[in-house]
Symmetry: C2
Amino acid sequence: MERYKIGLIPGPVSVPTEIRDAWKIDYASSDLEDEFFTLYHENQTLTQKLLHTRNKIVITSGEAMSILWAALKCTLKQNEKMLAVSSGLFGTGFAEMARAFGVNAGVCEVPYDEIPDAQKVYDHAKNFRPKVITAVHCETPSGTLTTNLAEIGAIAHELGALFVVDFVSSVGGVDLDVDACNIDVGLLGSQKCLSLTPSLSISSISQRAWEVIKSVNYSGYEAYKDWEDVPEIHYMPYTHDWHSMKALNISLSRIMNETPEKVYARHSEVAKLCRDFGQEMGLKLFPKSEYFSSPTVTAFYVPENFTWKEFDSALRERGLAIGGNYGVLAGKVFRIGHMGNQADYELVKNGMNVIREVIKERA
Amino acid sequence: MERYKIGLIPGPVSVPTEIRDAWKIDYASSDLEDEFFTLYHENQTLTQKLLHTRNKIVITSGEAMSILWAALKCTLKQNEKMLAVSSGLFGTGFAEMARAFGVNAGVCEVPYDEIPDAQKVYDHAKNFRPKVITAVHCETPSGTLTTNLAEIGAIAHELGALFVVDFVSSVGGVDLDVDACNIDVGLLGSQKCLSLTPSLSISSISQRAWEVIKSVNYSGYEAYKDWEDVPEIHYMPYTHDWHSMKALNISLSRIMNETPEKVYARHSEVAKLCRDFGQEMGLKLFPKSEYFSSPTVTAFYVPENFTWKEFDSALRERGLAIGGNYGVLAGKVFRIGHMGNQADYELVKNGMNVIREVIKERA
């Protein structure tokens, strides 16, 4: 399918016309014009507000994987130690990525249907003494939200580690206080709760992190080092994407106009609808407790009398597209993405109705 | 300025409405849909045709700097040897980038107003024995076209080196036969002759290069290794940008419909107009010989009775935006970008008329 009738993929999400309208303009050169740097700065300020942080915001071109790599490569050198706090595929993924460039990466893991255990993290980290501790706010494949980031952040800082958090698929749909959680490097994607194309990546970087970034001095497309003072010096390491920067501005302004509180309430309500409706029709929630379930994405087990392929095909025949899964969760757990533009009560209700029909038909 | 009345920046260039129309559609998920992989494959085939190559095409998200890094990081390990053939800022830039991750990089340099000397390259490379030789087809800051890539490519292959070529700002405006030039890794940007936003990067990769890429086994956002069989395996290392992929398809189709021959003729004619008109009004061409001047960008010395800032301001007051310069060329040499959508006879004539007015006024 090129377009979805009912699209509930947990990212990339549907991009509303109002945001795609950014491409109506034939912009000037982002390398040269004051107006671009003003826009960049405006987006920094709006993002700081959204994240409750005074940390610097860096907005780069490319998909969110670029900053997952950036956060690791810019803070860790070969043989240095990192601890990946994991309750899912992306949590463990951080350790795999770091090992790929020679980092000594440990994993503090819990089952994928739970959220991290702060005491276990403390014990592991106290013994291992990592330079960096990583965590994931929303484990999209598991549909879980790590609600105890503040505790993990406090542990990281108590032990002198930098705290790197992937909040790619939560921020914009869930309130997160970056400074209260001691997040040194925070990572946000554009194609999730911000309802943009997957063309920008946004990082929040603390003063402690900048110091480490300078000492590591990593060079590459993912390097943060030349982004610290972009709007002040009017220089970037490459030509930026003005259209996407404008689209981000529209998206952030929409959130501020609706008010973040209302946006989060909308996500919570729609997530509750999804969980309640699903369980009512006999679906089993993947997260062990409703309390762990993310307001941005809901994960259920694939119904027992279907393979994932059969289930997905039957839904697609009726115009509904939802997310499957990866790794150990592939074929077993499916996901409904109700983030950003898709945190829409009617849309999710329509989608859940289709699921009910398909399940009923086979019952 | 947010938009240009007469825009002649040598990239990012003006993006025509027809290409920006790709953003009118609310696309499905590029991770999941056959239609996306079909589009990706179609763009691969069109690019192969444009480049006269049977090498595999890789299309990634992010600005062209991402693949300049990719080409080096995926083919070279620490302490290995690379030779940068340089006649400009980007030529020497390759060596600086490689040194930043520990490569032993030599530079075979000529003055920036010339093009590389094949005999010098041969002598240098025969003695140095690099694993990789890099070159730049169009040195955008110098406005020169390296017309002897075939000779350098033959030398690279004779000496067993991989040949990496930055053709970011030439392909789509100048004919280049990648296979005849023995180009193992070829690098193309989207915001130059293809008249796209700076959101995609395109690489052509030979079988010899794939073997080296596998042995180096570099991991990161810039890594090529997981892109070899994207359309066949329907899997990518991150969520791709469907809108940009569609925009690329529109751009490549436009070139094929106009026919590449006519597109190249249009670039040549417009470049000639620019050179002739400029010299007629007393401007001095930066390239030592007209024969070195690129059909995509023309570089002149800043007129003697102006500083660059004064000159630029006077042109901008009349609605014309052209390119300044960087590094040793900053303040001395300016550039007129007539590539892609800007390879337009009337547009360039209007721009040159403005330049003539401004020069006349002060004379």
